[in-house]
Symmetry: C2
Subunit: 220 residues, 2 copies
């Protein structure tokens, strides 16, 4: 119940004044609650309480519930995409190795930043917030797809990969990653992986690269 939103607990006095720290703490609290309960079912009193302030304070920093939702989506994601693109740009390995490193990096973003929780939130609320959804599409989804696309096209051009349909392949590659983070952020028993994510990712890569069939067999 009396959970402090984020890390640094400074003055901790009953009515401490910490103008700098409030927005981030409120965003962190809002991310958790929006993610757990959805936008409509999340009470602003609860968000404020989790961040250790009153609802009035929340309104000092965000104009409305919707503005808070916007800020949550926009404030959490961009830095990690930037970093991923930089990482890939300076990557010298094989296409298969690039793929592996991107997927692992993606997983780490999700543990650190709750980016996965955000994906679940967007899936759930896309219909109610078309603007937030298209912001997310353009800034996260498109850029992420573009990274995978470059790896695949490079791999195919160099003869490392078979010439598969790139756009569909992107989805086939990303979908298990998305489901992994979605189930890790949704308490649905009997769904989600029963093995550690790193192992899950390496099995995914193994199947992706080598296929399921014994060599020689073909589908009719």
């Amino acid at each position: 119940m009396t959970d402090e939103g984020s890390g640094t607990a400074l003055p901790a006095g009953k009515r401490a004044r910490r103008k700098e720290a409030r927005p981030a703490e409120l965003l962190a609290a809002a991310l958790v609650l929006f993610t757990e309960k959805g936008f409509a079912a999340t009470r602003l009193d609860e968000v404020a309480a989790r961040a250790g302030v009153s609802k009035g304070t929340l309104y000092l920093y965000f104009d409305s519930k919707e503005a808070l939702f916007n800020a949550v989506v926009r404030g959490i994601v961009l830095p990690s995409v930037d970093k991923a693109e930089a990482m890939l740009a300076s990557h010298a390995g094989s296409a298969a190795q690039q793929l592996k490193d991107i997927l692992i990096y993606w997983w780490h973003c999700n543990s650190d930043l709750r980016l996965g929780a955000l994906h679940k939130l967007i899936i759930a609320e896309a219909g109610n917030f078309p603007e937030v959804a298209s912001y997310f599409s353009e800034n996260i989804v498109l850029r992420g797809r573009q990274m995978i696309r470059r790896v695949l096209e490079g791999g195919i051009a160099r003869g490392e990969f078979r010439p598969v349909a790139v756009e569909a392949a992107i989805e086939v590659i990303m979908a298990p990653m998305l489901m992994l983070v979605v189930w890790n952020n949704a308490p649905l028993r009997a769904c989600g992986s029963h093995c550690p994510p790193e192992q899950y990712i390496s099995i995914h890569l193994d199947m992706l690269l080598n296929g399921l069939l014994q060599t020689g067999t073909t589908l009719s």
Copy 2:
């Protein structure tokens, strides 16, 4: 706006009495709205209006909003899982062909019954409705996984498939299918497949069976 919930438009009088047809029409309307807006954001007035009745009528057939939600989940899914299991039991083809037919059947279920919309709904609301979520897990997810498991184990036993980690493979196979139906039920531009689902499924299968690598290459 003045959309009739489901197919058969019978008497159509202003205040027609159709005790038999109401529940199904209300469920259909509720499925669409819960799916589009989420549980909390869906108004019962709106559900009733979409089914062409007043809110009072809705309460003649369902005790509460939550009971309606339960009925939506429970009423939509079981028959299709039954049918899929029957189909698989009498399937004589190769494991690869069984896999293909199951995925295609799954896709058809989703177009016909909006089962995919239901998956999106469960992902979004699992945290708020643990009982509904575990009902869904036990009756849909577990049985679905069991079908894939049987196909994979059979394929591996007969030497048709490589001996991959079955549990993780199940997820890698199903995840792209889930994402396919989720994006088909969530109006997120720039997500989802840009090719027809049948083609998407066959590309998924091709990559799944044959892998991405040119034969001979291996990941370090």
